[in-house]
Amino acid sequence: MQMHPTEIATALANLQQMTLAIETPPGESIPGIRLQQMTLAVQTPQSEFIPGSQLPTEVLPATPFVFIAYAFVWVALIGYLFGLWRKLTRVERELAQVATRVEGRRTP
């Protein structure tokens, strides 16, 4: 897999920052210096300057995610409550009917 020169430059720049962050005694050669030279060698010249304000700031809009999340919660809770209420009503009605039949059998 081949990397684009800008990707290599970014990766090296990150590595350089990490290397330079390590404290070394003054006057000694550190790997960061060589990395800096390598970075400059592979970095392609920039042909234009783009203000940060013109960069895309938000790729995904948040509103649909929030709306779907809240709609799902409401539907799930109301659906469960409705289902539970139906089952409870049906079972208690059936229980009352069967209980009446049992009582009717017991009374002579």
Binding site: L60, A62, V66, A76, A99, R105
Partner: protein, 221 residues
């Protein structure tokens, strides 16, 4: 009529009123600085997670009581708790990825918090499947599963502190500013009232089913 049965409609009405007011409070709460609008999923996501834990504790403790004393009421409560874990767990597992897709750029991440939450939810799904298809006597085995599921709760809660994870830690709740804390507390109490009402109603359904079974047997004799 038992006290719990009398309290159920009251809890339900209060929860309904609180849920109706919740969107206005959430809307009025400020947007979080880094995540923006999508962070507002938090106001339903976290209380739902708390109710998942509450359901797991209800199921686990009632299961332990059932294994000890074999009282059917404990079994009915355990079943109700497990079903609520599945319900509120689904809410957590749906709203979480919706939040993650926007905040992290992915729907799901196999990190400690998310994975262990999914495992806990699946344990309670197993409990429900066992009760549905396990046949006579499955309630004892299911009770053991319920206790095991409850044991997972502390691991889920502490997972963000024990392991490296991208999920926000539990300290976020304590650090909330007042204008975010009050809507969150409001939603938590609304979820708590609803949870209590549903737990009572679901346990009552199971008690009614057991009574119906006994009544049919009495009719056959």
């Amino acid at each position: 009529m038992r006290l719990a049965d009398r309290a159920m409609p009251v809890l339900l009405v209060v929860a309904a009123v609180m849920f109706a007011a919740a969107p206005f409070l959430i809307d009025a709460a400020p947007e979080e600085s880094t995540m923006g609008l999508v962070q507002k999923i938090f106001y339903f996501h976290v209380p739902a997670a708390m109710m998942t834990f509450a359901g797991a504790f209800a199921c686990g403790l009632a299961s332990a009581a059932f294994l000890w004393r074999r009282r059917p009421e404990a079994d009915h409560l355990a079943l109700a708790g497990a079903e609520l874990v599945v319900l509120f767990g689904v809410i957590v597992l749906v709203t979480g990825p919706l939040w993650a897709r926007k905040a992290w750029g992915v729907w799901w991440q196999w990190d400690a918090r998310l994975t262990i939450t999914l495992v806990m939810w699946m344990v309670f799904v197993s409990y429900m499947l066992l009760r549905r298809f396990g046949g006579p006597g499955s309630e004892v085995l299911a009770a053991a599963v319920g206790v095991f599921g409850m044991v997972l709760v502390p691991f889920v809660y502490l997972s963000v502190h024990l392991w490296r994870t991208i999920h926000p830690t539990t300290n976020v709740i304590r650090s909330l500013p007042p204008e975010m804390r009050w809507p969150f507390l409001w939603c938590t109490v609304a979820f708590l009232f609803l949870f209590a009402a549903l737990l009572i109603a679901r346990a009552r359904l199971e008690t009614a089913r057991a009574a119906l079974e006994r009544a049919y047997l009495a009719l056959e004799d």
